[in-house]
Symmetry: C2
Subunit: 489 residues, 2 copies
């Protein structure tokens, strides 16, 4: 028998109708109001011909409207495809086509931009939908089947072609409860979202809010001053950050401190450096480091604040319902022996859209790490083809594939370079056709039209040849040596 | 793909090895020690020929040993059948045979009693197993399949024949997390068990302890003085009680009060009377009322302490992953309309041993109740054939079936009578063969050999005839009238 749960928000509205669900800088809404709104919105969306089982693309910045929309689509029984708003139209087109979305819903400002390549009955601004007087009372989904896909987020892989990660209702529920078994749940908890909702780090907070019956505070953009104010005077108890955000928060905090009610700074996207941990320790800021990815529906490994200093550099242990092993050539490794990080758990995706499911439930992350004698994970290297820049994942193969579509480029290789502000930024090596007159600026302009800004290489270097092995595979690690020869770092 | 989780205790021992798992009056044990012990015990049990998939009967009082044994059997992959220690040998025999258990493990004191009817290679005292020098290293189950049966507890139904309720690993996990979404989880939580582990109220606390990583305090028997001491000076934050226990605790407490760290008195087994709620309210005792049964693997409906007075008499709302409806003749009822209470959720049993599963996941409880306008459940009547006496469920049909096996009895009917000490006690009406010389005392002695003491009717009344309808079905509600005619209450 399939496992079903009641519609998350409808159920939460029944249990805690008057409890505050979401606060933004300008408005606030209870769980009952949120459900009522999401139901009305569902009827409006349905009037545009959207039905259960349809894929719907969303290309919107953080807002209360986006949150309402996310629950409206669940009410109809749609699969919600959340796109990074920093994508170019070309990148977005690929994902929308791949997901076979029936419509795109976007912010007002971006709407005309998108309506140009597509027709008007395919791209709608949120306000067009919200302002419609049409109303089609489709059946509201009162139950969620845990194995049904709820949301999809795209990540790129080694091929350079983005793949849609399927997140089921079960993945979201298990992820929320796994986190609860680790961090606990308190009546007065309030989790601040200052990361994008189109990333799993943001969306998972929203899901926890509804599943726990917990207030969520939404910031449209990350502003250290506003975040510190929310923690210091607006009763925020937990916030999710990436390392670069943490350092900005501590800088902005200056000589001030957080109230004792603030209980967790959940830090993802790579280990926090010891110097930063020591600063946080002095200021009594409880930093809980975590390792996770879109495919694990948020956290899968976490390090408690009490272990932060003694286990510096570690991401912690796998959450209660999750398993982790280190594998080299199919063989599980013992303690202190590095290999590929392989994970399993009910929060782990069953697979990518249009691709076969993982048969035995184990996800090969591509990341390299080891477990110490006590079972703490140390991530040595994110998959060699991954650059993490200000919390965004950048896949070199994707940039290379665009570079190589330029008529004068015959080969290219992209690698990450340390950067004080962003953690890492991409750098590109380009081999031009002999005699080509193309300049670095030409290449940059070519990329600007085709890649999200955060993916644009900070530096382009022309070289005669790239390190490739006998089977012509690019040797990514050797690109780092090439960098040094070219005077970087 | 089946959902699997890591072995609960093994995983907990990896995450929180040094954390206190269980404290009794004489000893204490960490999660790592508990797992090590449960593993050794598994090897010892295996040396008696017990293997994965075997059913093992347990007939033991609350003790640390019993807790270790429960986890040892999970390590092997056995199905654990937990029997009420108040059962007579005859009652136990029925359940053991029905479950097809391979052995019975019992306390030392009860061992010789049980070895009499059975042979010595079928009944073992716990100490015989624990003292063996044999050791068979069977594979430890590192994963639990959530749809596999973990434990079995017997309840009687309308037929008088006890049925084995299957509780899967998933039922236990979902029950624990559903409770967490309601009560929260705090780092300093400590849950006191003063109810039997062979009941779901006790076992579910032990499971929560391991799933949450929470300390559990075990009392062998309920002693109000000791319980109050544990709450007042041993940092207990939550305790599960039935109404009779609650009143004894409040009496014993006298002018004293509980510390503010004490956060939940979880009260099951019928609504708490208003006068008691008011006494608790005055003393700042947070009473959380709950409705649940063996089939729902503990709580399924709860009333928060803040709603206790305004919703007096209510059991509250269905937990987050659970659903509830009121049904009359297959038709779902609206607010304030009474009918049968029907529940669904991932914590609800998939069915009884040797019987078909519930097809659509809805469990018909047999209890009568209604929902108010805000969705709060009011239980009007436990199934008419159920007597709840001091937290134990008594099924009249079971007593009647024993009565009718007496050679001089031609008909019988049992019903519950209010009792100050026990809440309710059974009373029996008996129709004798004409001319029979059997006395009430004879009948009592007959019952004592065949029924657990708590099931023995407090009073036996000889009558000429019983209220039966046209199809000869006993009209239980009319037995109440008969009681009044016979001078009770």
């Amino acid at each position: 028998m399939e496992l079903v749960l009641p519609n998350f928000l409808e159920k939460r509205a029944q249990i805690s109708p008057a409890k505050m669900a979401i606060k933004t800088e300008t408005s606030s809404i209870t769980f009952e109001q949120l459900f009522t709104r999401s139901k009305e919105l569902a009827y409006k969306i349905a009037s545009f011909g959207i039905r259960k089982g349809d894929y719907v693309s969303i290309y919107m910045e953080n807002s209360l409207n986006l949150m309402e929309l996310i629950f409206a689509l669940k009410n109809i029984g749609c699969i919600t495809v959340l796109h990074n708003t920093r994508l170019t139209v070309e990148e977005l087109t690929y994902q929308v086509k791949d997901s076979d979305s029936k419509i795109i819903i976007t912010d007002e400002e971006k709407c005309s931009l998108l309506q140009e390549p597509w027709n008007h009955s395919f791209v709608y601004s949120f306000s067009t939908i919200d302002n419609t007087v049409k109303y089609e009372e489709v059946p509201i989904q009162h139950e969620f089947n845990l194995s049904d896909t709820d949301t999809i987020m795209y990540t790129s892989g080694t091929t350079g072609f983005p793949k849609g990660v399927k997140q089921t209702y079960g993945n979201h529920y298990w992820s929320a409860t796994a986190s609860a078994l680790n961090l606990g749940i308190r009546e007065d908890d309030c989790w601040l979202i200052a990361v994008p909702l189109f990333h799993i780090s943001g969306l998972s907070i929203l899901m926890r809010g509804v599943i726990y019956g917990m207030e969520v505070v939404l910031h449209t953009k990350f502003d250290p001053k506003k975040v510190n104010k929310a923690i210091r005077s607006e009763k925020v108890t937990i916030i999710s950050v990436v390392t670069t955000m943490l350092s900005k928060l501590v800088d902005e905090l200056g000589e001030e401190s957080y109230p004792t009610s603030f209980r967790c700074m959940l830090a993802g996207g790579g280990p926090v450096p010891l110097s930063m941990l020591e600063r946080c320790h002095e200021k009594n800021i409880p930093v809980v480091q975590t390792y996770g990815m879109t495919e694990t529906c948020s956290q899968i490994v976490t390090l408690s604040a009490t272990d932060a200093i003694s286990k510096v550099g570690s991401s912690g242990k796998a959450l209660f319902p999750c398993q982790l092993k280190i594998v080299v050539d199919g063989v599980e490794q013992g303690p202190n022996s590095p290999g590929e990080i392989v994970v399993k758990g009910p929060n782990v995706t069953t697979g990518y859209l249009h691709r076969a499911s993982f048969e035995d439930g184990w996800l090969y992350t591509g990341d390299i790490g080891y477990l110490d004698d006590e079972g703490f994970l140390y991530v040595l290297d994110r998959r060699s083809d991954l650059i993490i820049s200000g919390g965004e994942n950048i896949y070199p193969a994707e940039i290379e594939s665009v570079l190589q579509s330029h008529p004068d480029v015959i080969d290219s290789g992209v690698t990450g370079v340390e950067d004080e502000k962003w953690g890492e930024v991409p750098n590109a090596f380009v081999v031009l056709k002999s005699g080509a007159k193309t300049t670095k600026e030409d290449i940059m302009n070519f990329l600007y039209d085709r890649l999200a800004k955060y993916k644009i290489p900070k530096r382009i270097m022309f070289v005669d040849t790239l390190p490739r092995n006998a089977t012509n595979k690019l040797q990514r690690r050797k690109l780092k040596d090439l960098l040094h020869q070219n005077g970087a770092n």
